[in-house]
Symmetry: C2
Subunit: 347 residues, 2 copies
DNA sequence: CTGAAAGCGCTAACAA
DNA sequence: TTGTTAGCGCTTTCAG
C-alpha cells in the first residue's frame, strides 16, 4: 500500500505528541502513565499511517533481534527435517519471531559445527535450535554456552543443553501391541545395526512387550541389518524362510518394511493375510504408497519443532530457565498410525 | 572465545586511529586513501581483538540486512523443498547472506501470501525468494513490487518477476529417447490430469520425440490419472491389459511409476525384461528403493535454489537488472538418472 | 501525565 | 592521509 516508510516521528507528529509517548503506548510500557485519550490518539494515528516499527532499529536498541537460529542436519534429504522446521516456524511466527536457517551435515566436524553457530550468533539471533537427522547423543560446541539453545531430536552428552526427543520405547510398544492384539504369537523384529539410542530402546521395548504379554521372546526372531530397503529385504528373507517363520514382523523403520514387502512378495506371502508388518517413522511417501498401506509409528517431528521453538522463546523472554530442563530431555509421544498391513494370523 | 563484544571503537583505540579509518579499511572503501602502514595496524588490531562488526548496526545504517527472505510452499512434505533451500542457503552463505524462512501452502490465498511477504519485508530482508512445490504459473501479490525477488520453480503470470524453472521438455525428451535407444517401438505414457505446464510440455515432448524418431504416435497409448501411486496403478493396468500392450512406459512422475510397478507385478510382468519404465522427479526414496531401481529424470532443485540466490544477490548488489530477465524464465537442465528399469524389449 | 535527549554500533559526508 | 560528526529509527532514563 505504501512505499515511503513511516517512522515513529511521523506518528508522533500526526498525533501531536512526542516520540516517547508513541513508543510508550505502542509498547505498553508498564510504568508509563498516559491518559487514555492520548493513548487513543496515538493508536489511531499509528493505525491511520500504517506504522510498522523498524525491527532493525528496535533490535539494535534492545539487543534482541527476534530471530531464532535454526541449524538443521541434512535439510535436503528427508521430509522429516521439513516437519521440524514447519513446527518451529509456525510457532515462532505466532510468537513474533523469525527463523534463520543454516544447513549442516550429521557428519559435520566439531569445527564446522562451531562455524555454523558462530555464523548464526553473528547474525544476532536470540537463541538457537539445533535439529538432528535422527535421534542420537552428541556434544555441541562450546560457543553455544550462554546462548539459549535447544537440541531437537538428540540428547546432549553433557546434559547442559535441554532437548526434545521422541518416545522410542512407547512407540515400539504400541507397534508390538497392535500385533499382539491382532492375535500374533510368533513375532519377529528386523532391527538396525547402528549403535544409536533407537536401536536399543526399540529392541528393549520389543522384548518387554512380548514378555509382558506372556509370550516368549525368541532371540533368533530378531535380525539386524543396515537400515535401508536392501537390509530389510535380506533380514526379512532370513526370517521368512525359517521353518517356523513369524506371522508378523516389527521393522526398525519404514524403509526396512519396504524391503520386507519385497521379500514377502517374492516368497508368495500376502500381506497382511500371511504376514503382518508394522514399521516405524511414518515416512508418508513409503507408508502410504506401499500396497497394502503400512501401519507404522509416527515420529513427532512437527511437535518437537514446535515444542523447541516455544520453549526457546520462553527462555529468551525469561519465562523459563533452560538449565533446569537440561538434566532430562523432554519426551514426546510417538503415535501409532494404523493402515492396512496388520491382520489376524492365519490359523 | 570472547564474551564481551568488541566494538569498532575498541579497534580504533587499539590501533590508535579513528573509527572512520577502521571502518574504511575494514570495508575497503574505494575512495579512502589510507597508508598501507595504517591499514596493517588496523587489520592487526581487528584481528587481535577478534573484532566482528555488529550486523544489526551495520544493517540499520546501510539499510541492508544481509538477509534473504525465503518463502517455501509445503516445506514439510517433500525433500524437494529441502533441496531448493539447500541450494539457496549454501550459495547465500558463500556470498555472506542468510536465509529467513517462512512456510506457506500451495493453496494459500492471495491474502495470506501477501501477509507472508509483509512479514518478510518487515523482517527487513533485502530480497525474496519464492519457491513453489511444483512448476506452475501464478500471480504474486503486489507488495512484492519494488523488492528484488525471484520465483523458483514457477512462472509469473504477468512476467514482472524473473524466475527459474526446470526444462520439462528436455527432461521428457531424454526419458523417451532412452526408451527408443533401447529399441522400444510401442511406448506408452501415463500422464497427469492436472492442468499444469508439466502435463502439457511432457506430453508434447513425448509426441515430438516419438515422431522425430520416425515412430508413430498412438493416442490410445497415453492414459491420464491423478498423479499419485493409485492413479499410476490404474492407468498402467489399462495400458498393460491391452492386446497390443506397450513394451515401455514413460510415467509422469515417480509415484505413478511406483503404481506401474505394482500393476506390472500383478500381471506377472517383469521389469525391465517384459516392461521398461521411466519416471520423472527422481524422488530418491522411491526411485532408489523400487526394485528394480527406477530410471528417471531429475529435477534441478538444488540448482534452481542456487541460481535464484546467486541472481537475487547480484540484483541486490546492483550487478544485475532483474527486470531484464523477467521476460523469459531461466530454464535449467533436467538430467536423466539411469538405473535399472530400462532394457531392450523382448522379441 | 508527557517530553527532551542520550545513546545502541556503525557508516559516510565533510573537514582538516 | 585521517578525524569529526551527524545520523539510521528506535527505546528509555530523567526532567519537567
Amino acid at each position: 500500500m505504501s512505499n515511503k516508510p513511516i517512522g515513529i516521528k511521523d506518528v508522533a507528529g500526526a498525533a501531536g505528541v512526542s516520540v516517547t509517548t508513541v513508543s510508550h503506548v505502542l509498547n505498553d510500557v508498564s510504568y508509563a502513565r498516559i491518559s487514555s485519550k492520548t493513548r487513543d490518539k496515538v493508536k489511531h494515528a499509528a493505525e491511520a499511517l500504517g506504522y510498522d516499527p523498524n525491527r532493525l532499529a528496535q533490535a539494535l536498541r534492545t539487543q534482541r533481534s527476534g530471530m531464532l537460529g535454526f541449524i538443521s542436519e541434512e535439510i535436503a534429504t528427508t521430509p522429516h527435517a521439513g516437519r521440524i522446521i514447519l513446527g518451529a516456524e509456525e510457532t515462532a511466527r505466532r510468537r513474533g519471531y523469525h527463523l534463520m536457517i543454516i544447513n549442516t551435515s550429521s557428519k559435520a566436524t566439531d569445527e564446522s559445527r562451531k562455524a555454523d553457530i558462530a555464523a548464526l550468533l553473528k547474525g544476532q539471533v536470540d537463541g538457537v535450535l539445533y535439529a538432528t537427522m535422527y535421534h542420537r547423543r552428541l556434544a555441541l560446541p562450546d560457543n553455544l554456552n550462554g546462548v539459549p539453545a535447544i537440541l531437537v531430536d538428540s540428547e546432549d552428552t553433557n546434559q547442559s543443553i535441554s532437548s526434545v526427543i521422541p518416545d522410542e520405547a512407547g512407540g515400539a510398544t504400541a507397534a508390538v501391541m497392535t500385533l499382539i492384539d491382532a492375535g500374533h504369537q510368533r513375532i519377529g523384529m528386523i532391527n538396525n545395526t547402528d549403535d544409536v539410542p533407537a536401536t536399543h530402546s526399540r529392541l528393549q521395548a520389543f522384548k518387554d512387550t512380548i514378555s509382558d504379554a506372556g509370550l516368549t521372546f525368541h532371540t533368533d526372531l530378531v535380525e539386524a541389518e543396515h537400515s535401508e530397503v536392501p537390509g530389510g529385504y535380506e533380514a526379512a528373507l532370513r526370517l521368512l524362510t525359517r521353518k517356523d517363520r513369524p506371522t508378523a514382523i516389527f521393522c526398525y523403520n519404514d524403509r526396512m518394511a519396504m524391503g520386507t514387502y519385497r521379500a514377502a512378495s517374492e516368497l508368495g506371502l500376502n500381506i497382511p493375510e500371511d504376514l503382518s508388518v508394522v514399521g516405524f517413522d511414518n515416512q508418508e511417501l513409503i507408508a502410504e504408497n506401499l500396497y497394502p498401506a503400512l501401519t507404522t509409528v509416527s515420529l513427532p517431528h512437527y511437535e518437537m519443532g514446535a515444542w523447541a521453538a516455544e520453549n526457546l522463546i520462553d527462555a529468551i523472554e525469561g519465562k523459563t530457565d533452560l538449565a533446569l530442563m537440561a538434566l532430562h530431555p523432554t519426551i514426546l509421544d510417538c503415535p501409532l498410525v494404523r493402515r492396512d498391513s496388520v491382520a489376524a494370523p492365519a490359523r
